[in-house]
Symmetry: C3
């Protein structure tokens, strides 16, 4: 079985011991994969979407994920009520601003809600640059900028929101505006299976519910995914088996051989 | 290939011969897995959601599944019209009351529709206890009670509704209020892959459309899933390959080696 | 690795070089599988659903897929605005008329939108016959007619719409109304995994965005799927591993061993 970076082992153990209940308001495409990634790491996913229920559940959950990948007008209501309820209950909430910048409706929403103190934001370089108001976004859901080029935008955004910002790419950058960590590894295959980025955002949300330093926790979470990606790439015969090995690697991480 | 319990073989054969058309109004997370489980056993899944279409299709289908996991106000309309149409056409309908008790909106709906003679109800212990009005539910979608502890609630509910109630857990209990069957086996891994419970509810719906004793049919359906879970756990290297082996086991069940 | 038919190799290379951005308005069940199939072939999928965003995004994308499998009233708005925007931007759009004929709501929509010059239509025999106004459709989502029997309907429909019509079955027929190509191969297992037909429709949409003869491109796209199905059937141990091997085959197609 794969062992995590020794520095990250306490975070993995906390993940499995605390089993954070993560309320996911996420896009239609990645629901099952996101749930299975959270389960593989030991968290408990719950997708609750009707505005009344989203408000009620965000106060019960340990963390709330907002992903705008297939945003609808109904989801906008659920998102506002979920976030307000999370804030009132002191539940951390995390934003995945999928394709922000390129589409007006979601860009407007993202600009509104980043005023509401997200504990973390996770996006690719184009999304983070666009969210910081510095450019117009990528092509569809793919980034056209390198993660390093988005670091200044990420730091600005972290200072503005008071939360942590994660820019993912060949190298991931995790910053709270003053401290910045990098995570390398992974595989290009991660970008060719739908939902690895969206699932990482759910993992980041779970990490925000763990005890300890939030920057350390999130950095460890990014590391788990990079390591699983590296191992899965070596064990797979194509993109289908890659996704399966990726889940296998996460679920077995840290177990004795 | 895996052989079913000899007592269950006629049910497996009926499943494949009749290929029941199962109309699923289910949650966003488990749509593909539910469809693939039904297909692996030989049934024909169809997800039809718009209220007008749900009404029309429930009268054509062989069984109707209602799963409230990601309930929305629009789904509530589709559910009411689908059930009424199913009843008028003498189509059996099955309820999976995901997370009932913990969330007001879905609890209210579930309390209403169990008045409408479900052929079966399938839930975990916390859900069945909550639906019988005996407690307040689990934590998110997970049960905090043992299946055995929910048996009295299941029997009460079966007598009240006139249908069969299935409580799943380490041991599954299947009761019509007077007769009770148990099914053991399976694997803890089934609880760590999203959708195994929801897919079982779809299998239960399909079983309600088969000829023969409904309690026997549903007990056999629970057995197929337990057996597939046991075999998949032995053959898998983690949660990703577990789900794949689970489908392989169901699709090959009963075939000659 | 699997090699495509030599005649289809230029299409595969164009697919990977152009990486067409495919805007998918598709059903709830096949979102992830569709995205992963497109990614495996080198295309870039994006599911964008809110009517405002669908209008904006259809003008940016290289192709638009409309699949009515879980049609809702909200989707109808997104579909109309997406198609109108695609036409204005000269973006090809493709229709997958899932279960048309059997359900009034979607049949009415499909009859309306085939007036709007789809670049292609992909369906099973029952769907194509129903869409051409010649019969009443299949049972649920499954065809009750053979692909060959639907060829006259396909040719009529191609001439009426000015686009290409694909009827899939044991043999696929691809016609522009005057020229007709056939594609054989594949495996019966493709019909027992949810989403292979829906994903093919997304591949057809991507093919419409490639340079060269559209009939050739689409025929090649059908061939890629048939070949992947044949190879996956030989390598799999059941329906779970079949879907994984199918994705592996597509992602590795044309690569050196």
């Amino acid at each position: 079985m794969m062992q995590p970076d020794p520095l990250d082992l306490p975070v993995l153990q906390a993940f499995r011991r605390c089993s954070p209940l993560v309320h996911c308001i996420t896009n239609d495409v990645v629901q099952a994969f996101t749930a299975n990634i959270l389960l593989a790491l030991g968290a408990s996913p719950a997708m609750v979407v009707e505005p009344d229920e989203a408000e009620q559940f965000a106060a019960i959950a340990d963390a709330l994920l907002i992903n705008v990948g297939t945003l609808t007008a109904l989801q906008v209501q659920a998102i506002h009520r979920g976030i307000d309820s999370a804030l009132a209950a002191d539940t951390p909430w995390v934003l995945d601003p999928v394709a922000v910048g390129g589409l007006t409706f979601r860009t407007h929403l993202c600009q509104q809600i980043i005023q509401k103190k997200p504990a973390a934001i996770r996006g690719n370089a184009s999304e983070i640059i666009a969210l910081a108001g510095l450019s117009g976004g990528g092509r569809g859901v793919d980034s056209t900028d390198s993660a390093a080029s988005a670091l200044p935008a990420a730091q600005t955004l972290a200072r503005q929101t008071g939360g942590i910002v994660v820019v993912t790419g060949e190298v991931d950058y995790v910053t709270d505006g003053s401290r910045t960590r990098t995570v390398s590894g992974g595989s290009i295959m991660m970008t060719r299976v739908v939902g690895t980025g969206c699932a990482l955002s759910a993992v980041v949300a779970a990490c925000c519910a763990l005890p300890g330093d939030r920057l350390d926790n999130i950095t460890a979470g990014c590391g788990f995914m990079k390591q699983a990606g590296s191992l899965a790439a070596r064990q797979s015969q194509g993109l289908g088996s890659f996704a399966i090995r990726f889940l296998d690697a996460l679920s077995g991480m840290g177990e004795e051989a």
